[in-house]
């Protein structure tokens, strides 16, 4: 597998708290994409971070990428109940091809 076993996780926090989700990957990648999947829906991309970027922000989201440790994180500040979803990180084997290799995901539950 491209991903470490520690990626399978479930988190439950109170609305308004901040949260960070982590992923580690085994082989080289040029990009990490973070997706969110709500119940009954397909995944939707949240943020994409390239190998030459250490950090990327989008609204309440912040993604980091550490190529030396082959790990990425996604942080959400001021969580809302609507952030309840499963969050996936995904890498690509070849930047010329869009085949995504997904991690196991983090199930995030936000309690109102």
């Amino acid at each position: 597998s491209q991903w470490g076993e520690e990626n399978l996780q479930a988190l439950s926090i109170q609305e308004g708290e901040d949260v960070t989700m982590n992923c580690s990957y085994k082989t080289y990648t040029t990009v990490v994409q973070w997706y969110r999947q709500k119940s009954g829906k397909g995944p939707a991309q949240l943020i994409l971070i390239r190998s030459n970027e250490r950090e990327k922000r989008s609204g309440r989201l912040r993604a980091t990428l550490d190529t030396s440790s082959q790990s990425s994180s996604l942080s959400i500040t001021g969580t809302l109940a609507t952030d309840t979803a499963v969050y996936f990180c995904a890498t690509v084997e070849n930047y010329n091809q869009g085949k995504l290799i997904f991690g196991q995901g983090t199930k995030l539950s936000i309690k109102p």
């Binding site: 996936f88 091809q97 869009g98 997904f102 196991q104």
Partner: protein, 115 residues
Amino acid sequence: NAGVIQTPRHKVTGKGQEATLWCEPISGHSAVFWYRQTIVQGLEFLTYFRNQAPIDDSGMPKERFSAQMPNQSHSTLKIQSTQPQDSAVYLCASSLDWGGYAEQFFGPGTRLTVL
């Protein structure tokens, strides 16, 4: 823009029957991907098309699964002689470009249940 459309949303088949899943990508998108999602295996890549041409089917179980894209407006995933282990949510995605930096837009999926 209706997004990626997948039909049917739910399909129940008996063991040994055939199942055909349909995907209509977003108009103008050049790449179409198929993934399978189960609790145990998570999200797995199956196959993908670039400008209707099959590019990579490395994730497809070879014997009973096939995918086609006869025109730019739809792709099909066919499973022959379905088995209980084929039960999963099958997701179709399309992207404007086929590279690793392109955002993939996913449909809602087809939940296949094989009895």
